[in-house]
Symmetry: C2
Subunit: 333 residues, 2 copies
């Protein structure tokens, strides 16, 4: 059974996923993003090979767990956290452990095995965001859930184990450390200035202009001032909202527009790089209503970048964000 | 000129290294760990191609910046931080910036181009640690320096741009965020328990036994209880000391013994994996004397591991540390 363990020094929770336990021999050779012998569990006709769907957008005359869908959400077959596990907290000597309760779901973003998000029609990206919102809403209301994490790993180098376009949702009984840090920092700023730090960032970036990648009425995409990675990009809603689930109907369409353009720019500028994106939202209990501001952070995973950084929290970024933004802005899409 | 920029939300400092600025075309193709046409600036006879050495262990009849050395420390030719830059703090709108003052040096660990640290004699590893200590001592006494970071990136996948065995030292005008977090966590624990959290970890691990990888009189190597990565390994001095520079003469030799064995085990168990290690030490002003405890953290960089984790601070580790430790312990070296 998976469990959550807490680092006793810096209080980071880690999922130790025994269900997906790897032996040393599993490392170093795996290159399984390609469709093995033409087979993919996310393709039409293979619906019975995933756990039963928990949500699908499908044509009215189609049946659950059969073809006819354009978005399909299923529990992960090898979940990092599992709703069947009961919440239990215990000590192990000086250490703290929580049983691996929660949820781990896969959003299959298209039936088309070869279509990547950058090449999807805007309508399809919009549908993906609707699926995020629907599942966020359901999972965040479950007992014992404190955080819902929505993310996408694109390509093997960014941690994707299947190449068919998909995102993931993990619902956790704890608030991830990075989120706690953002909440704390944003709160401190709010107490000092009586303004949301993210709203201030948006205003400063709009007036500077140098780090803007893309913009529409409701969203702004920027290369952040203290970017850790080359071509790191954040997408922020211009209106102050602490939680992603509060996105409006029009917001979904506007968010899809900016996300889609950013992905097209990255694909063209950097030769379709691997990337990770994560939606940063407040915890489920509406903490941070005044001072937190949801947004998406995207990190392209470029060759030779990073190293000791991930272990020290100290980053060296060889590409000034102003240069990255200019380059992405000027790419023709 | 390089500069340090602070993230206004979570207060992470990032070096924006304009001197090593990369264009988009620099990414995705570079695979430069191999010796290009047989040429390497760290080999005997090429000493004039690096900046002049700041330290060398060499035979008495040899001359500086000529062959005859067995360890050589030189400033990085493309430094992330530079001692020639004057410390200057400024605001840019809402953002904070510090000029890129500091130091960035390379420890060339051997004249033998093809020798990796795992295969070195223990005496040579000892000499490397002596070089770390010597340079730590010099750099930490410079004006404006708040932290000295010693680390090693092994292989391209872990961020090394040259294959010739080397480590790096960066001296910074700020304390890295991860260090601040460890100091804070350790301080809180100390205030609650009146004991060092790392000393408690050592005692708990010695009595549990399950996560021990290697041990001698003065050092303990463990797979940490809440390991983020498969085969993550920490090496801790058994005696409480906040700062690496306080290591004793005998400590250097004992540390070399454990580090050397751990590297041999990893090499054999995981087919010579890429890795990063970082020495975690207190800041230079002796902060954390009672409650901080220096140690080394080693992260093997195994295929398909990681992804969204680095952006969220939330990790999924598919290999329980108990399994990793058992496997490493049982490898014959």
């Amino acid at each position: 059974m998976p469990e959550l363990r807490k680092d006793p020094v810096i209080k980071r929770w880690v999922i130790i996923a025994t269900e997906r336990a790897k032996r040393p021999s599993d490392f170093g050779t795996a290159k399984t993003t390609e469709k093995k012998g033409g087979f993919c569990p996310f393709d039409y006709g293979n619906e019975h090979l995933t756990p039963p769907e928990v949500l699908a957008f499908r044509s009215p005359n189609s049946k659950p767990n059969e073809p006819g869908w354009w978005i399909r959400v299923v529990p992960n077959k090898f979940p990092a956290l599992d709703p069947k596990i009961k919440l239990r907290r215990k000590g192990m000597g000086m250490y703290d452990v929580i049983s691996g309760t929660g949820a781990h779901e896969i959003i299959i973003e298209t039936p088309d095995h070869n279509l990547s998000m950058a090449d999807m029609k805007r309508k399809q990206v919009q549908e993906i965001i609707w699926a995020y919102k629907d599942r966020y809403d359901v999972l965040s209301k479950r007992d014992g859930i404190r955080y819902v994490l929505i993310f996408k790993n694109y390509k093997r180098e960014a941690g994707a184990s299947l190449e068919h376009s998909h995102s993931q949702i993990i619902a956790t009984p704890i608030v991830p450390k990075r989120v706690e840090e953002e909440l704390e920092g944003a709160k401190e700023y709010y107490e000092y200035k009586e303004r949301c730090v993210f709203c201030d960032i948006i205003n400063q970036e709009l007036s500077d202009g140098k780090r803007i990648v893309e913009e529409n009425d409701s969203f702004l995409a920027i290369a952040p001032f203290a970017a850790r990675f080359p071509f790191e990009t954040w997408i922020l809603p211009k209106e102050h909202k602490n939680n992603f689930v509060k996105i409006s109907d029009n917001g979904v369409s506007q968010f899809a527009e900016v996300l889609s353009s950013v992905l097209k720019r990255l694909k063209k500028a950097l030769n379709d790089p691997p990337f990770n994106y994560i939606i940063h939202s407040s915890p489920v209990n509406d903490r941070g209503k005044e001072f937190y501001h949801w947004h998406l952070e995207l990190i392209p995973r470029l060759t030779k970048v990073a190293g000791f950084e991930w272990g020290s929290g100290f980053y060296i970024n060889p590409t000034p964000p102003e240069d990255a933004a200019k380059f992405l802005r000027e790419v023709e899409i």
